[in-house]
Symmetry: C2
Subunit: 763 residues, 2 copies
């Protein structure tokens, strides 16, 4: 039985459960210095002067820099999209003339230990002249910096005749919906340890995550080095979720210091820093209108939204706004659509991608809209969705939109089938009856759902190198990164299945730019699709090479051979001759007769997979909630995540992804919010103020993974599974809370706090 | 003008002259332990017991092991040759029942710092029962270990009718010649730092040299690991010369300790240890006879020799004896030859390869023989050589012998031409006249020469990976190693010339097993021939790929393009369109249209060069010496090294190799000797006792590099240049000293010490 599709245990766990993990804080080099960042304490101010002299006077302080010391270094760049004109809004690695959010790096200290550095940072004199803080992205845009205003761009997309749709509509449903500011808060804060190897003229950056190769190229460019002289190394990563591993000012600062000071430089973020310095996300306000016919069939949608980017552009550029605009429509057939996404700066921590970026927001907006259409038309919430689904016969379904630079073509899916399966699994009808009984008894309970389409498998290319050594051990080198999602296990399973070895024999090397020239890291639910497909191809190619070589060794036709458990044998039976893959590798050692027949020796192949389109997994989530009328507390009594991932390489890991993703969605739905006072001072800088769900908040969670719609875009049929758990939690819980409150469309904001609930209860 | 052949400055020097070198002692890891080896203090003894308990009681000592603690680890292996039966003579990593030389590792201490480890080592109780020490390899073989005697093998080779030659000879010249025990003594002693990365399950060994990939494979095998889970890393190396970088017990011990103790383990050899623990070399006694006709034409040679291997086989196996046997005949036509090389163990430090192994010995023996033939036949020393040279018309000249497992086929050479050039350069005739005048005035002066054929470029294969990054920087990854010989510069020159870039744009990465799966390190003067040829091929292939890609970019036929200084342009003139190699690389980035036309993206190629035969550079060295009759001191007044290397990639580096090699030959000729007392106690354990030549002993040295006989065996015509400086120093100085002493054949041993000279002077 192939290991592809089996819930085998994770390869990455052995060192972790033994306490042998190597997280950023575990990485040390002799003679290392410690960096501490001095951060802006006002949200918006002129930066009049920075005096590091008092800090430099402290024993153990080796250097202290302000912007004047790093003038030659360009600001942090962003990954190009079609959106133009963002360059003026990029963040300098140390603030120059203004500070634009509380937490912005203003100066840095380098000292012999972390405590000295922290003490010295307190002595830096930063002279600020406060300016009014702009905190509402939906307010009219204002002055950013004289020449520029606070709206770098408006993301516009459209197709069909939207105005006609609204003219012809039986009903127009208009909503004003807001998603709160929250983000990925990994257990491991960020860290960066830079080391300059003068002997080799190589700059190393350790403790990295997510995008090693892109970051390598940009660090090289910003510091004027060849990319081949900069190497990024990934250790264990205590959660990424989109925020960790982007290129931040601190990464550049440790690199620059390692080069200038000739000593390794270590920086470990503390939790308070993390909550103001690491990317925020999500904050977005939508004014959305739907034109529908009398039966609730959508005729057109007009979507205006305001994306609160915070003080600067970050490395994702305007991608969240782009995805919010391009992917909002989800599973529904929408004849006409127009969107204007106002991408705006405010005096808050810069925002970027967080698990299911743009889709968590969009699903909340779209599914609130579907509930509102149902209410307006007086039809069932399920029926309105079924009526508007893109049908299975319409697949692949090309929507005249683009997102992330690719055309949106839904590759496969049977939305109605999944909804039916989910309703049955959730026991929707029984729960409806139960809810009715409990309401009659005075309880405030409700059911809700959110249907969604995720996107995954962004191209264009991914490659791996697969090698069998002389002992039969298999090494897979990939430019993908591991942020805890199980990439080692999944790629090992795919390689093992294609090649014919035990998956535990496959060592997966990732996140190291010195081991493979190109890579795409771990983001956008693309690794299993892209690197997985490349791995599958490589496994098949390596099996073919092994068989061709073994054919010469065994004097048998290659097509009479099979590979199982690392042994190549004649297919006809166990009694036949055989060779191990290790023996095949030895037969291909440099100089051997068989190796000379090929351009290169060794049992090794490099294989690349290309894809021009994303693949679209889809799902539905259902919630049953109960509200405490006294406290306004929402208790999720039962929850279902149903998700079609095409094919699950390891169902247990897919479930794990869904459960973890759900927990993060739950935070965004009910608890987590970065809040600011009227001067832009952050109010959520501890875990007492920024409320993350704990195990106590986790409801009974049911997960239904289906494989009804394998992707036709890759040879293994997979779709990404990393973000579906998060995607519709805001949508489904809002739907359920709204249902509990009488289905009046009162729930228009996330998170839904007890205070909000009490207000909506009218108490 | 191509950079191939230019004496450009060395790429490797920048970090070294800036004090940024990373030698073994410079490598540190946090929490590292320091290892100290407890060594045998008797040359031959039963090992009754080892008690490490007193050492363990010392504060800071973490572990202490004797043989009982490392029983599962097999002894140090050797590289296979045709010689069989050596396995029982391999060295255990810690002595088991017997000790066989003073300095043999008996126990090891691991402690928090090196001083603690050294103090603790002194407390280990080693109970020995002394046995008679066998110190003369030419004495009848004795008992090694009950079942085995002290002669593991006899290397026999023969062709022609030797007995008939001696029957028909006009003269039989018989000599008994000895070469003293000396070795490479690099400025940097050995060092090994092992680290186990539990997070990746990778064992790392730093501070390595010479044979990283072979050592990786053997360490993996001995420790039961997959080779792909063991990585060796080379830093700067303060001289190798054949001895540093072989696999020694200490390498295994630090690896094993890093695995067992879970902390990095560092070992740095001290000088006294080095002189008893690192491979010795050279000690060999020849009883050689030549059958010649009346004109001094050689009819046959019968060569019996005794190779003093010391206490164990080392990693080279019996290669020095094999080369001594197979390569002795050098440039001369010898119709019949028979050799019996008695490979024998003694109770001394084990011996192995040292710069020009077997050839330094052989040239001394052969050239002493030629002088003796000349004397016996009453003909000139030059004439007897010219008369016996293999002629240029006879090339390639297949000699029915083998060495290092390959047939000996002299690939090209014009020996007579080089001798003529050298005589002219040295001013042989004028110096002869001058010597005659000075002798008449009572001085003891003489001239001597030694002609030699080196061997180089051992196959079977070498490969490199050559890549241009997006900025046009070039990276060459090779499995070759750098032991200071200039490999970075030479390979960069070859790559630059073939590709069309500035050689300083080429970063050469070497000696790291994680960067390339296979490699052969640096030994046997093979890197420039084998890795150089692979580099040349790779450069041409990369240029072709760049042109093909640029052709699509520039809309021009590929064959109309040239590459110069990293720019691809149309050949017709400067005004034409052009693209840089960096732009070509970017056009081949993953996902690009041009990259998808190929199996793999990037401007990168891997190329392998294969060769079944060695290539044979050749040379002649001439010496003028003066002897102080009062002290017996030999002063070298003038010296010429003439060497034909086929083609010199960098003549300055060839000269540097020759000068350095000469200095080591000078040591072996006049100064260096590991001496033992009658119980086998080493007497040469400091630099006051082991006399290395200093700058004061270096004579005026002239170097003549010729390129008259490019090798037909590789595309760049090169032959190895690393060992020719050493090869004939013993031969030429012995010839000159003998000439000064009246040409009576008195000089039969190396080194020629003042005591020997006084004896020969009869004073």
């Amino acid at each position: 039985m192939s290991v592809f599709g089996q819930s085998v245990t994770r390869l990455e766990d052995a060192p972790l459960v033994r306490g042998q993990g190597a997280f950023a804080a575990d990485i040390d080099f002799p003679r290392q210095l410690h960096m501490r960042v001095v951060r802006a304490e006002m949200a918006h101010a002129r930066l009049l002067s920075v005096d590091v002299a008092p800090a430099l006077a402290l024993p153990g302080v080796v250097a202290a820099w302000s912007a004047a010391d790093v003038q030659g270094v360009p600001p942090i760049p962003f990954r190009a999209t079609k959106v133009r004109g963002l360059e003026p809004y990029c963040q300098p690695i140390l603030a120059r003339d203004r500070v634009r959010y509380v937490g912005e790096p203003v100066a840095v200290i380098f000292a012999e230990d972390a405590a000295m550095a922290e003490d010295a940072a307190d002595l830096v004199l930063v002279d600020l002249e406060e300016l009014p803080a702009l905190l509402d992205a939906a307010a009219p845009p204002g002055d950013f910096d004289g020449a520029r205003d606070t709206e770098p761009t408006i993301v516009r997309k459209a197709y069909g005749d939207v105005d006609a749709a609204f003219r012809e509509a039986a009903h127009v449903v208009a909503l004003d919906l807001s998603i709160g500011r929250h983000s990925g808060v990994p257990m491991e804060t960020r860290g960066a340890i830079a080391r300059y190897d003068a002997a080799m003229d190589v700059l190393e950056l350790h403790g990295t995550a997510k995008k090693q190769h892109w970051n390598r190229d940009e660090i090289a460019r910003l510091l004027g080095r060849a990319p081949s002289s900069v190497h990024l190394f990934e250790g264990h990563v205590g959660g990424g979720f989109g925020v960790r591993g982007e290129l931040y000012p601190e990464d550049l600062l440790v690199c620059l210091a390692a080069l200038r000071l000739g000593r390794p430089v270590k920086w470990i973020e503390d939790r308070r820093e993390h909550l103001v310095a690491t990317n925020h996300s999500r904050e977005q306000r939508h004014r959305i209108r739907a034109a529908v016919d009398a039966q609730g069939q959508i005729l057109g949608i007009d979507n205006v939204f305001f994306h609160d980017q915070g003080g600067y552009i970050r490395t994702h550029g305007a991608r969240v706004a782009d995805m919010s605009a391009g992917l909002l429509l989800g599973p529904y057939r929408v004849p006409a659509y127009r969107v204007a996404g106002h991408f705006r700066l405010t005096n808050k921590t810069p925002a970027a991608t967080y698990r299911s970026p743009g889709r968590f927001e969009g699903s909340f907006v779209r599914e609130r809209l579907m509930d509102a259409i149902a209410a307006r038309c007086g039809i069932d919430r399920l029926a309105v969705r079924q009526r508007n689904f893109v049908g299975v016969a319409e697949m692949p379904y090309a929507r005249p939109l683009d997102a992330l630079g690719t055309d949106v073509v839904l590759d496969s899916g049977d939305y109605a089938l999944l909804l039916d399966k989910a309703l049955a699994r959730f026991g929707w009808d029984a729960r409806q009856a139960d809810v009715a009984r409990r309401r009659a008894a005075g309880e405030c309970v409700g059911l809700g759902l959110g249907f969604f389409v995720e996107k995954s498998g962004l191209g264009p290319s991914d490659g791996v190198r697969l090698t069998v050594d002389a002992t039969g051990a298999v090494e897979l080198v990939t430019g993908a990164a591991s942020v805890g999602q199980g990439v080692e296990t999944v790629l090992a399973q795919i390689a093992a299945a294609a090649l014919g070895v035990e998956y535990r024999r496959v060592r997966v090397l990732h996140g190291r730019t010195d081991r493979i020239e190109f890579g795409s890291g771990a983001h956008a639910s693309r690794v299993t699709v892209m690197s997985g497909s490349a791995t599958h191809q490589a496994g098949l190619a390596l099996a073919a090479l092994a068989k061709a070589t073994a054919a010469a060794m065994l004097q048998a036709p290659a097509d009479s051979l099979t590979i199982e458990a690392g042994v190549v044998r004649r297919a006809e039976g166990a009694g036949g001759a055989s060779v191990t893959l290790g023996e095949v590798a030895r037969a291909l050692a440099p100089g051997s007769a068989l190796s000379r027949e090929r351009a290169t020796p060794g049992l090794t192949v490099e294989s690349w997979f290309h894809s021009d389109h994303m693949t679209y997994p889809y799902g539905v989530q259902m919630a049953q909630v109960a509200i405490d009328r006294g406290t306004g507390t929402v208790k999720v009594e039962h929850y279902l995540c149903a998700y079609d991932v095409g094919r699950a390489v390891n169902p247990m890991l897919v479930e794990g992804q869904i459960v973890g993703g759900f927990a993060q969605g739950l935070g965004g739905a009910l608890y987590e919010a970065f809040r600011y006072d009227e001067r832009g001072q952050p109010l959520s800088t501890t875990f007492a103020d920024y409320l993350m769900p704990t195990i106590a908040e986790m409801p009974p969670l049911d997960v239904l993974v289906t494989e009804d719609a394998p992707s036709p875009l890759n040879p293994i049929g997979v779709k990404g599974a990393g973000e579906g758990g998060t995607n519709a939690v805001g949508a489904a819980i809002a739907s359920a809370v709204d249902d509990a409150l009488g289905g009046r469309g009162l729930v228009t904001t996330l998170p839904i706090t007890p205070r909000d609930v009490l207000r909506m209860l009218g108490t």
